[in-house]
């Protein structure tokens, strides 16, 4: 019974990893961009929520009304002003430009807020739990995060397959040059895509910061977790991203149950094993 509890915890933990990964998966799927600054943008969202919360007295969930548009605008501007310039130059330019952005965000936050750890406060929901038959109890908050992750993936599915914008995204993803010939403005579309990716990043950042302490250096490990979820799930697969997060969450929960210090290591090792056994991920949609 103890193990059932561990697995359930792992699945729920996978929700936040899935949320971390959506933005990364989206920008890879549409513009083949691997955003090294992704983890730092998650943390930046948390800091924006912190500032908004302090300024207005709103609780973190309500802060999203402001954090989401701010991050959308930032994503749009970043793609328009910087990343679109790197599209034609091969592998290095986008990698190094996002690397530079990552260093700037990390040190900018360090400059502005110091190295102190912060946490967003949402009140009673953080510690509430549900009693299940068999003596199991699960946290309401992790369940909520998981539900948000499922909802996020479902809304992406809807966006991609039932809207005009989604059709344009799929067209550009399949063949950028032909899409442009058909009258799509790729550069503008890419900017919108990174903006949308940042919406999910903002939600992920706020939800994570209610659960966990964060400081300016908290970004890189979030990038790694998001990246692992994307690769485990299979590149370019929307639902695979969430399932990848769940696999990672279960591996970490099992590792932590064996020895609390093994949690992160167990996730990394599961990732490397899957990489060696099934290099294209568990649910591949497309090839790099």
């Amino acid at each position: 019974m103890e193990w059932v509890g561990t697995i359930i915890q792992g699945i729920l933990l996978g929700g936040i990893y899935g949320l971390f990964a959506i933005g990364l998966s989206l920008s890879f799927g549409i513009m083949r961009l691997v955003n090294i600054a992704h983890g730092d943008l998650i943390v930046l969202s948390a800091y924006v929520a912190l500032v908004v919360g302090q300024g207005t007295g709103l609780d973190p969930f309500s802060c999203l009304i402001i954090v989401v548009p701010v991050m959308f605008a930032l994503g749009y501007a970043m793609q328009r002003g910087l990343l679109n310039l790197t599209l034609s130059g091969g592998l290095l330019p986008p990698l190094l430009v996002t690397f530079g952005i990552s260093v700037i965000i990390q040190n900018g936050l360090l400059q502005g807020f110091g190295a102190y750890t912060h946490r967003l406060q949402e009140g009673a929901i953080e510690t509430a739990s549900l009693q299940l038959p068999g003596g199991l109890s699960i946290g309401v908050y992790p369940l909520l995060v998981f539900a948000v992750a499922v909802l996020a993936i479902a809304s992406l599915q809807l966006l991609f397959y039932s809207t005009r914008l989604g059709r344009a995204f799929r067209a550009v993803s399949d063949d950028a040059d032909t899409a442009e010939l058909m009258g799509i403005d790729n550069r503008k579309l890419y900017a919108v895509a990174l903006g949308i990716a940042m919406i999910f990043t903002a939600v992920a950042g706020v939800l994570f910061a209610i659960r966990t302490n964060f400081d300016p250096s908290a970004g890189p490990i979030r990038l790694i977790l998001a990246f692992e979820a994307v690769i485990i799930g299979g590149l370019g697969s929307i639902w695979g991203t969430l399932l990848g997060g769940v696999v990672l969450g279960i591996a970490q929960a099992v590792g932590a149950a064996l020895n609390p210090t093994w949690q992160i290591l167990a996730g990394h090792i599961a990732f490397l094993i899957i990489l060696i056994v099934r290099p294209s991920g568990l649910f591949p949609r497309m090839r790099d």
């Binding site: 790197t86 986008p94 790694i224 290591l265």
Partner: protein, 358 residues
């Protein structure tokens, strides 16, 4: 008809080699005329040049953009501290073994990360480095999260006298950095270097001309890991203490190094040296402003990548066609009647006989 001959050097490179001699002599004799502060700065510059050359070899030539080279810095450091501290091994022997140890571990690592392409390879190498860092922090004999220190006995083994010890370590740093630079230079001048340059310029084209791209990349990855491990051992021999956080620091051993290579000029030997000088200069100028100089480095790297992706040295080559470390081959008309004149750079297709069976 004029005979064509292959030129491996230029007039500028020969003049540079002659001019470099007194500069090198000045650095080697620094302990006898400079103060210890300069010695530490020059030692740092030397090992950063070595790390930058190694990363440049990987990313600039073999197309393996790794952000996980700190794994091998840390492994080399831990190997040195473990062998001397726990096995009581002679410190020089341990330092010599640190490189091969890192190289050996890079072989299984390559099986995993070589399955990833491009930017995914980059993040994959980072995960591997995290695995090593976390493992080191969990292993009791490696000191767990607090790491290992060099005991006074080991230091006395180098030399009982402190200033003499600093001189020995300084000269070792210079020597090893020089050796690493020589290995990179000679590797690039060899037929493997020709293959690497071809891969740098176009991987599909070089493969179609018979370059075994996988084997070439594998060799470069392992050699680079071994050299990085050696340099890592050397760095922490001077720091006297290694912890998982310091040994496997991505910021200190990879981010800074990438900035140096990109700003100086990726895919050239001169670039990393220039990038290192720019980095040290900026750091000395802006050190008082704390994190600002790192943000400045980030901004400069972005600007260079967008405006001049070949870096400072790439711009110089384009403008003046200078080469201080000639690794390419040029075809020139032999001086039969006419003065010799380089006519074109040897591209993959005009390789002289004896060099073509890659």
């Amino acid at each position: 008809m004029d005979a064509v001959q292959v030129e491996r050097g230029t007039k500028v490179s020969r003049v540079f080699a002659i001019l470099a001699m007194p500069a090198l002599a000045a650095l080697v004799t620094l302990p006898w005329w400079g103060d210890p502060g300069y010695m530490r700065l020059v030692a740092e510059m030397a090992y950063y040049v070595a790390l930058a050359q190694l990363w440049n070899l990987l990313a600039g030539y073999a197309g393996l953009v790794s952000v996980g080279q700190q794994a091998y810095v840390g492994l080399g450091a831990y190997a040195l501290f473990y062998l001397t501290g726990v096995w009581n091994m002679n410190v020089y022997l341990a330092l010599l073994l640190a490189g091969p140890f890192a190289g050996l571990l890079s072989i299984p690592v390559s099986f995993a990360v070589f399955r990833l392409r491009g930017a995914y390879f980059a993040v994959g190498t980072w995960v591997v480095s995290e695995v090593f860092a976390l493992s080191a922090s969990l292993i009791g004999v490696l000191g767990g999260g607090s790491g290992l220190s060099l005991t006074p006995a080991i230091l006395r083994g180098i030399s009982p006298n402190r200033s003499e010890r600093e001189t020995i370590l300084y000269l070792m740093t210079l020597a090893i950095s020089f050796v690493v630079l020589a290995i990179v230079y000679l590797l690039l001048r060899s037929r493997h270097g020709l293959a690497l340059t071809a891969i740098r310029d176009s991987e599909p084209a070089s493969a179609s001309l018979g370059v075994n791209t996988f084997r070439t990349k594998f060799i470069v990855y392992v050699v680079t890991a071994a050299c990085t491990g050696l340099v890592g051992g050397l760095i922490f021999l001077q720091k006297l203490r290694v912890s998982p956080e310091a040994g496997f620091s991505i910021n200190d051993w990879t981010v800074v190094v990438i900035f140096m290579v990109v700003i100086g000029g990726i895919g050239t030997i001169e670039g990393p040296i220039i990038g290192m000088l720019v980095f040290i200069l900026l750091r000395e100028l802006f050190a008082d402003y704390g994190t600002i100089y790192l943000m400045l480095m980030g901004a400069i790297a972005i600007a260079v990548m967008l405006k001049a992706p070949m870096g400072i040295w790439g711009w110089v080559i384009q403008r003046y066609d200078l080469q201080l470390f000639p690794v390419g081959r040029r075809l020139a008309l032999a001086p039969v009647g006419k003065p010799s004149e380089p006519i074109m750079r040897a591209a993959a297709g005009v390789v002289p006989q004896g060099e073509s069976n890659l």
